[in-house]
Assembly symmetry: C2
Homo-oligomer: 410 residues x 2
Amino acid sequence: MNAIAEAVLRPSSSDVARQFDAAARAARAAAAALRDRTAEILAANEADVAGAPGLSAAYRDRLTLTPARIDAMARGLEEVAELPDPVGRTLAEWTRPNGLRIRRVAQPIGVIGMIFESRPNVTADAAALCLKSGNAVILRGGSESLRSAGAIHACLAEGLRAAGLPDAAVQVAPTADRAFVGAMLRAAGLVDLIIPRGGKGLVTRVLEEARVPVLAHAEGLCHTYIHAAADPAMARSILANAKMRRTGICGATETLLVDEAIAPSLLPLLVADLRALGCDFRADARARAICPDLPAAAEQDFATEWLDAVLSVAVVDGVGAALEHIRRHGSEHTEAIVTEDAAAAQEFLDGLASAVGMWNASTQFCDGGEFGFGAEIGIATGRMHARGPVGLEQLCTYRYQVFGTGQVRP
Amino acid sequence: MNAIAEAVLRPSSSDVARQFDAAARAARAAAAALRDRTAEILAANEADVAGAPGLSAAYRDRLTLTPARIDAMARGLEEVAELPDPVGRTLAEWTRPNGLRIRRVAQPIGVIGMIFESRPNVTADAAALCLKSGNAVILRGGSESLRSAGAIHACLAEGLRAAGLPDAAVQVAPTADRAFVGAMLRAAGLVDLIIPRGGKGLVTRVLEEARVPVLAHAEGLCHTYIHAAADPAMARSILANAKMRRTGICGATETLLVDEAIAPSLLPLLVADLRALGCDFRADARARAICPDLPAAAEQDFATEWLDAVLSVAVVDGVGAALEHIRRHGSEHTEAIVTEDAAAAQEFLDGLASAVGMWNASTQFCDGGEFGFGAEIGIATGRMHARGPVGLEQLCTYRYQVFGTGQVRP
């Protein structure tokens, strides 16, 4: 707690929110600094990569920066700078019979604690979104990317100074000590929101320990349901994209549900498509009755977020059975139905508890950029506050402004 | 956890949400049952009151039911039955350049755990709001009102049965054991939201122990600021109402801030008005320079939620100083400014971090009924999700429905 109390100058909403021009200027200046200091950042990143020899290839890839990745970070900052300011928007307004006018207005949440794993670029992306939404942020990246994060933060700090904003608006954790994460999670009254970005282990730990609200998803166990009335060509195109476009992201489909009415004709084609893309399968008995060469699924496979080129497959009897399967095994992240039957599609969408339901589109569209939010800081599956892609707008809470003419309450 | 797991049939959003007619019928039938069983409820309540002889007069008053209070409960149920259904509302809708149509739709939060102290009528009010918003609720009242809550719950259960809804939609805690509260607070995955209603001790305990999101306010340390350009008659009327209409509610003003420019002429009148209504004072040195007979305030008095006929008084130099006082001592609940100067009013409203800011109106308007929400289940001062009065609409979260024509993500 003391480390946090000392580290954080807790800005009031008005301190930062009134300075949106400054936030945009800071983001642009930070982008310029990233480009100017590319060599310096690459050197810091090389030291990080060299200092962590035991990493898996995938982890090493996420950790490694290149000139192109640094330029992409800079462009990200510039794009966020151009987005409309979310704070101060009127979300709703109405007048009471006694003449009181009530307005619901967006305001920043306050201080956001960002806890993430290997990707050093999160430092810049998260800082830009928090700054533009009037929030202050404390960034705590993985210990293996400390030098990279430090070099990127130096550019952000340069941007803040260029725009006359306080250094406290974007801070990196002063220590790699794991106890600092624990302190952040318990810093109620100093930190208003925790956003963890990383594997299920990190997110689960954060959800269990945090005394502060958390926006997160622990898993993206997404389903694509091919309904009896699906257009076969569309189904093949959407499934291939939903599963194989990128297998490691949370919006990737992990389980295919095929309606029994269409499975005999369509499932062999879907399997052939995906196999050609390098996908493996875990299929239930009814799917194996149609495609006998599919490996058999264990019950646990339907509760597994593969994050890899593996697809669980089950044959189901109609929308109700698809919903029941999703309710039993899903993670309330994103599910899609492919069908030409509008009534079936709406029944599916209304029956889901998930944050996002898709009709005739790939589950991989669950993304702040694809939703038109400009950028995202994460994806939330909780039932409180923001759900789905979390962008600038979702980084704001609201307050009421009430306009009277002397009303007193009877 | 096991007690919760056994007690709760966790309904999916669609189970309950699709049955709004049923929810309204259940509320009406429960209201009829409350009226039919008035004698039975009064007898149970008498036993509760007799069983708790050491209570303060105020606590005993909150615990005691009368035929009029039971009828008010029944009317409350009937009023909630008539409110528009909040679930399924389209909160926002837009189309992406690739043709994807995205709709943000209101849905129930899930299972709500309601923890409250003496007032047995909360049993009926909370049940009606949760039912109508498609949520299930577990009610855990104070141990001293168990018999009353049981008798009221019997009427609610009768309403559920009459409408064909599952008993699990409205449950009372099966035990007065305090450990049950602890289990509710840790029942992540079974309980989606905790709403505590009671004193600061209860709410603070809940905020500290809960592993589940909490909607709450620990204190309502509300301020009324009389600006230099206030209309004196309006200021007197608003302050008297804001402080003395009811002193024990969270929206009651606890601190008066008077601008130095108007204090010499107005403060003596404000003091005389309130004194005539039985109010006592704790004043800073600048206020006592104008009204020397006011008792001196200690610093701690400005951080005290009196919930009584006591008013802290300070003289401040302009809007900035008023905001600074509120930031240092307030609880981000409700603050009011009285002024004829629109620019000063907007500066005050924009500078607040509080959930509700009022211009030329009494702080006691911070109430779901007064906001036009039909009813309220509580008032929230957190920065996440709902803030201010929490009614039907705020008992919903949202999800996205995305309508495609076969889009796949590039």
